[in-house]
């Protein structure tokens, strides 16, 4: 969570919008990347489940929906 958050900040500073998936609110809310979607899955499963294309797509769609937000840091929770 820390690594992707720090990379997201570097990318955003280059003028590119970013959104992070996060599995740990405790960490991400302290580091504060510009936009993060908290997902209700275990560590190692950022897009929910292997070979579950529909679930992976739902999570990706929810994350991409945060891109237009400029009220950073943006933290949203995905419901299971």
């Amino acid at each position: 969570m820390q690594t992707v958050s720090l990379i997201a900040a570097a990318i955003e500073r280059e003028g590119i919008s970013t959104v992070c998936i996060s599995l740990l609110r405790e960490v991400t809310s302290v580091i504060r990347p510009p936009r993060a979607l908290f997902v209700p899955y275990p560590m190692g499963y950022p897009l929910g489940a292997p070979n579950d294309n529909a679930l992976q797509r739902r999570i990706i769609d929810a994350a991409l929906a945060l891109l237009p937000r400029i009220d950073v840091p943006v933290f949203e929770e995905m419901q299971r």
Binding site: V4, E14, C20, L24, I31, G44, Y45, L64
Partner: protein
Amino acid sequence: MATYEEMSLRVRLFMKGYPFKRFKIDPVPVAPFDKSLSKARVALVTSAGFHTPEQPGFDQGISMGDASFREIPGHIDVQILLESHNSSSFDHAGIEADKNLALPVDRFRELEAEGAIGELNHRHFSFMGSILNPRRLIKETAPQVARSLRADKVDAVLLTPV
């Protein structure tokens, strides 16, 4: 969502004691997304420690973490990627079964084919997380990837941890 309570005691104690606050991003940068997604060029970044069979693995001997990155070609079959992330803080079985779980190239190809995104970038980037001392990541390798993405005229990036 994962919580501290679900993790092993060792990982939990480590995370409770780790000074995450030291690396708080302040101020939080913001780049307005002024394009419709259907016209945007999108790239992916993961910290899953993926690399191609030709690329060297990440160096797990660097005790404070390996801040290097691997460039993942956009045309690759993601399932052939290798993972050299040795952290015991997560279950590796999921990403071993389906690399899209942490680097969803196939899902984004579908989005591109449907016209939901403008186009997928010709390359993506992979780091290995669990970088205890992120100084080199912050000063050197993350900005380097950010500049490459800007050179590629990427409009949006999705980042996935493990």
